[in-house]
Symmetry: C2
Subunit: 449 residues, 2 copies
């Protein structure tokens, strides 16, 4: 008898055994966790999380878990919230391209806080196993309702993420199958997050809420707090209420055989993914030719139509606007050879040299160019033309970031906040996570001095 | 220039002055608050809240506020959650009939916890004023999206309640107009609660979440945590994403002139509202005639079609099922002369005398009978027939519960949990709330010795 989606996911999570995970999958989980740590530490001093802490710290419980990169030590639920927020603040986190879910934030933020609080030690492999299951649950639920759910206006990282956090936390807490059904139901009835909030601090709040609410759902279920047993597929359940079309086969088929985490990607650049091919091309040209901005007469881009639709801002004034400007992104990539968070600082967007080069950048839409491709021509003052065609941008599924690329990104993100020795120790610990006896120690390594 | 809905509500809340509230409105607020206290204290020992406390108490912060009727003293946010849960556990709370919102739970639960935590004393009038504004905001937002929003599958007490809690808490916190816009936006992006959960512990969880999340939204906004400024009406905001039709005039027209709280009703009986006319008629017949159940040959009901559709269970086995049985309800009303929570205890539903009379009850659908009406005939063993036609059930807008009725209901709900002297002191304090210097003391009166 084939189970309904909610029951099928509960059974899958309950029965899964870490010994049976393919090694490639475990390695991908470490890559995702490394990227999550870097993003969370990198944004740990941002106004967004500082304001959230200022608002909520009077209600923190016992010091149980770490806000990565910060000295505050709230209760586990608030730690999950804050790490979910910082993981998404730079919009630099991982992307499940099929659904545009950023999978790690909700799941890892819940799990790390729970691992720190948990009375018995949680091993690295237990952590990775629960992480893999959480990502599987959130992405399969996302697959079932994408794209109609996203098109309606839901921020799918929040709405699907809460299920991932609940499932992952439920696994670590050792919930029964029935309790996992309830955990998924309690998650379903807290599923939230509107795309209307994009551009405000509420966007990164969503994975934070997903982490905290999913974790609460698992805790409630552990005490036999009941919910509907068809939270996902019921007539008035998640999939029917929050989407106009749905395919439950995406949840139930091939469970435990195919793995959504293997479809995960990591951003090399701290801006909208549609600009990535252009930045990639500019950085490659800079690496191949000694380029002096003053000698550049013109930069000509040929791009996929979405690039100008989403990132066509010609004169950004602040860093956040720079992330939505392919012109700024190309200019700063040629000058700095990078597209990290620093390249989108307010000062960088207002820098005279960057602006001068930005104003020489023009872009032409070319429908024959794929989403992960771009064509860049740099015309020098002597009339010579440098050309680069990128077929698949770095960070795409076809050309994933290497482990070394990810470690370099991680180090750059951590550098402003942690001593270099801590950064190295932390990344080494993550790469060896599957043989580590206790995962909670990693969080401590993220705290400055 | 007419403001957009979110901005209009923010300005309305910010500018409202307690001195201008009509006395009738302030009195209605006291009635609603009395009813909220009674429901919350009455359900304070229920498994639902006990399990929630067991799950979440390890994460409670400093003891800041009261779980009404219980000894635990969590941080303010968790207190708001727990009181929101207990207020709705018996399904005995108030009803805004136009939208089926239960307005008091989300708003009063947020406000009372905030009043207890607040460093400066909050007066009774400030409390009532903020309560009135919160109810206004949640019911107007509900009016704008009802019925499509409810029909889609949203539990509107949760989804609209979060706005009410945010607005009310924002008023007490003295937020600026802009911060109130953000508070409503942060509320919008946390709006949640599925009707699929009806019949499980998640149903009363919804007003609890609304109270806690709305309160958090106001706290975040107070720290300038930003959201979209069109959280309600934006293209991907609440009203477009969570409803298939909407009428924003219901939000903006007559703000400050008409008051939704005056449309509030209170349940005299602890069961589905469609059975209330039958119970009312039975209790009236019992009061007018000395009725011995053994002498009753037959009880014949003529009812609105919804009665059998929603509450047609002929042989309920447990208390919760009894709430969905017009047959049990009529029998127990004749025997006990009441329809309180005790009449829906498991033991009462299994009581031999009740079952014997229940089996003599028959019901006929009569489309000419209105929703708040019923016709009851009791045939005695001597062949005589007692008849009662109720045109408007007690508790309907046309025949509201009197202040004395509400106080009687309050006392019954509190009796199992508090000494009679406390109960009297608490109700007297609520009736005098608008002249009280400090509202927080009321919560203390609800805690058993």
């Amino acid at each position: 008898m084939s189970l309904q989606p909610t029951a099928a996911l509960a059974r899958f999570v309950q029965q899964s055994q870490s010994g049976r995970l393919p090694p490639r999958l475990v390695h991908e989980a470490k890559r995702a966790v490394l990227n999550w740590f870097g993003c969370a530490i990198g944004a740990s001093r941002h106004d967004t999380v500082s304001r959230a802490i200022a608002a909520l710290s009077p209600f923190f419980g016992q010091p149980q878990a770490t806000v990565l990169g910060r000295p505050e030590r709230p209760d586990m639920l608030h730690a999950a919230l804050m790490n979910g927020i910082t993981s998404h603040t730079f919009d630099f986190d991982d992307t499940h391209l099929k659904t545009v879910i950023h999978p790690a934030g909700p799941v890892a933020s819940a799990l790390m806080a729970l691992a720190e609080y948990h009375p018995g030690p949680i091993s690295g492999l237990e952590f990775l196993h629960a992480f893999i299951l959480g990502v599987e649950v959130e992405c399969r639920i996302g697959n079932a309702v994408y794209p109609s759910h996203y098109d309606v206006g839901w921020h799918i990282t929040g709405t699907a993420g809460v299920f991932g956090a609940a499932a992952a936390a439920g696994k670590l807490l050792g919930l029964s199958e029935r309790q996992l059904v309830w955990a998924l139901g309690i998650a379903a009835t807290q599923s939230c997050g509107l795309r209307e909030m994009f551009g405000s601090m509420c966007k990164p709040l969503h994975p934070g809420l997903a982490a905290k609410n999913g974790l609460s759902a698992a805790l409630l279920a552990a005490q036999d707090f009941t919910s509907s047993e068809q939270g996902i597929e019921g007539k008035r359940g998640f999939a029917n209420v929050l989407a106009t079309a749905r395919d439950f086969g995406q949840i139930t088929e091939g469970l435990g055989e195919t793995w959504e985490l293997l479809e995960n990607t990591y951003k090399p650049f701290a801006c909208g993914i549609v600009i990535h091919p252009v930045i990639d091309a500019c950085i490659q040209l800079r690496a191949q030719h000694p380029l002096s901005p003053a000698r550049i007469r013109e930069v000509r881009l040929r791009v996929h139509p979405l690039v100008l639709e989403l990132t066509g801002k010609t004169a950004p004034r602040v860093g956040l606007e720079g992330k939505f400007s392919v012109f700024h992104s190309a200019a700063v990539a040629i000058i700095d050879g990078a597209g990290g968070e620093e390249q989108y600082a307010d000062g960088k967007v207002a820098d005279a040299e960057v602006i001068a080069l930005r104003d020489k950048v023009s872009a032409l839409v070319d429908p024959s160019i794929k989403e992960d491709a771009a064509h860049v021509e740099i015309v020098l003052d002597d009339g010579s033309v440098l050309t680069k065609h990128v077929e698949h941008a770095i960070g795409s599924l076809a050309r994933p970031m290497s482990d070394a690329d990810l470690e370099e990104k991680f180090s750059r993100l951590c550098a402003p906040h942690l001593p270099a020795s801590h950064v190295k120790e932390l990344s080494a610990a993550i790469w060896a996570l599957d043989s580590r006896a206790e995962v909670a120690e990693l969080a401590a390594l993220s705290v400055p001095g």
